[in-house]
């Protein structure tokens, strides 16, 4: 009993320490975004006080005008990519897990190959394709690339989970006359919801934070994403730190909201299994 309590304290200690380390940079960004430029450089770790408090960073960011557009673009790209990754990933995973066909193994390996090969290696080819199809400077270009980037891991994780869904349940659906699509959407998907949430969280952050593909495929003003938009404050000689920190602080909010949505699904999935 005492050993168990000791272990619990040790485990919580380790987790708390990790949380502090992980949240520290975020904390520094947040406090400094509310300070004057001078205060940022004089004492980066100090909390804003009445003297150093300033909203100048946020004012700059919001005055920049296009910032809501950047937000919107990032949001559209992230949500649409996640939607397609989950939809197509789950469908491919279901086919691989459920149906016995020639080349099933090979197909699974082929789809998983993308986990090992970074998609950025193909940037030039992707750019050429996008130019050829006229998708450069559209949000579609980004959505397509991110979907391709996220699919391998999604298929890999989801097919593993789908194999665990009871065969009897799927067969009961077939005996009752459900189509394969209804079996997939109504019976199987709800049961792998925790895995879907995991895949969504894994994919969401890299897509939201990506600078590479927006810079190359969609640098035009009207399709700029938030990360790319924030770069205007970082100059070669002068960097508007107030604005950069404020922009970053604001950028955390939507992704945090999305995370809340998915993590709630994740917890719901876990508890529904535990109660049974």
């Amino acid at each position: 009993m005492r050993a168990a309590r000791g272990q619990t304290i040790a485990a919580h200690g380790a987790l708390l320490l990790y949380t502090v380390i992980a949240l520290f940079p975020v904390f520094v960004i947040l406090i400094n975004s509310f300070k004057t430029r001078k205060a940022i450089f004089r004492e980066p770790l100090a909390l804003p006080d009445p003297e150093s408090f300033s909203l100048i960073g946020y004012q700059t960011v919001l005055k920049q005008g296009d910032f809501f557009l950047y937000f919107q673009n990032s949001m559209i790209v992230t949500v649409a990519s996640l939607f397609f990754i989950l939809l197509f990933g789950a469908m491919a995973a279901f086919a691989l897990a459920e149906y016995r066909f020639r080349g099933n193994m090979l197909m699974g390996l082929y789809l998983a190959l993308g986990i090992m090969i970074p998609i950025r290696i193909g940037t030039v080819a992707i750019l050429e394709m996008m130019v050829a199809t006229g998708l450069v400077n559209t949000l579609w270009a980004l959505v397509l690339v991110y979907t391709a980037q996220g699919l391998p891991l999604a298929v890999f994780i989801l097919s593993e989970f789908m194999r665990q869904v009871s065969d009897d349940l799927k067969n009961a659906g077939r005996v009752d006359g459900l189509s394969e699509y209804r079996i997939f959407f109504r019976l199987v998907l709800p049961l792998v919801r925790p895995a879907m949430a995991t895949v969504a969280v894994f994919n969401m952050i890299p897509i939201w934070n990506d600078l590479w593909f927006p810079l190359i495929l969609a640098p035009a003003e009207e399709v700029k994403t938030l990360t790319l938009g924030s770069q205007v404050f970082i100059g070669q000689f002068v960097t508007d730190w107030n604005a950069v920190l404020s922009a970053l602080s604001l950028a955390i909010l939507p992704v945090m909201a999305l995370y809340m949505v998915f993590s709630r699904q994740l917890i719901r999935g876990i508890t529904s299994g535990a109660v049974k």
């Binding site: 009871s166 009897d168 349940l169 067969n171 009961a172 659906g173 077939r174 005996v175 009752d176 006359g177 459900l178 109504r186 019976l187 709800p190 049961l191 529904s272 109660v275 049974k276």
Partner: protein, 335 residues
Amino acid sequence: MTALVLEGVSKSFGKTQVLHDISLTVEDGEFVVFVGPSGCGKSTLLRIIAGLDTATQGRVLIGGQDVTDVPPAKRGIAMVFQSYALYPHLNVRGNMALGLRQENQSKAVIDRRVSKASAMLSLDDFLARRPAELSGGQRQRVAIGRAIVREPKLFLFDEPLSNLDAALRVNTRVEIADLHRSLSASMVYVTHDQTEAMTLADRIVVLRDGHVEQIGTPMELYNNPINRFVAGFLGAPSMNFLERSVDVPTGAVLGIRPEHLRLQDGGQTAGTVTHVERLGGDTNLLVTTGAGERLVVRLFGQHAIEVGTEVGLGFDPADAFLFGADGARLPAAAG
């Protein structure tokens, strides 16, 4: 009309053949049990009947119609699964109604059949509950109800009792037997449990390694097994097989059921009691014979016999079976 006809059904997975040329007829209203050790192909055969798997060769006829290429939902069957397989997102009523809704039955028909089935299985109080809120026995009754409402030509049961605890298993077994009587429906039931097979079946099909070993009523199989496998598989405790302890032709094996052995000085064999199982109604003796063979003796009632006692054992030669070295039954039993 015949409920089910299998004609030369074979099934291979890649190069492994799991079912060999199985032919079988189930009459209308008959309760047929497929029994055999795990891996004998009985579940695969049931899946082929249901249409969840396709036979490599052969035909399946249900209610006189060739359904070999018909999808499961259109075969006029209903199936009860080992793991219940209830739809987790639907309540009990929804679970039972789903198949009927897929058939585009009218709401009146659905309501009538669901309430009839729920009354039959005493599920009335649970209709609004989700499967997660039910006990194991209730879930299995819902699964059975889901089959009943379809009013199928043929019921298929895939080891429906193996997830239940012992007491509940006996009750549910009786319920299934009652159900068979009141619906007078044709049923095919798969199990590895010989007690279930003996108690429920009109006819038993014993399978081994994808071959049908023997088909017959429970008592036919018990009294007249065609080979050593069937003789040993049915009956509990299972049959004793003796080569050296009794007088048999060379290479042959004598089979005698534990309940046919009696304590008798100067009987056909003798041995030392190595273990006693007292069940109250029965007493099972484990005896090692002089020739080193172990056998089980089932005595009715309670007996004060201690471990280490020397006992003589006798039996009526008419109760004994003789099997050849290959397991096949030999015509006459020796004494």
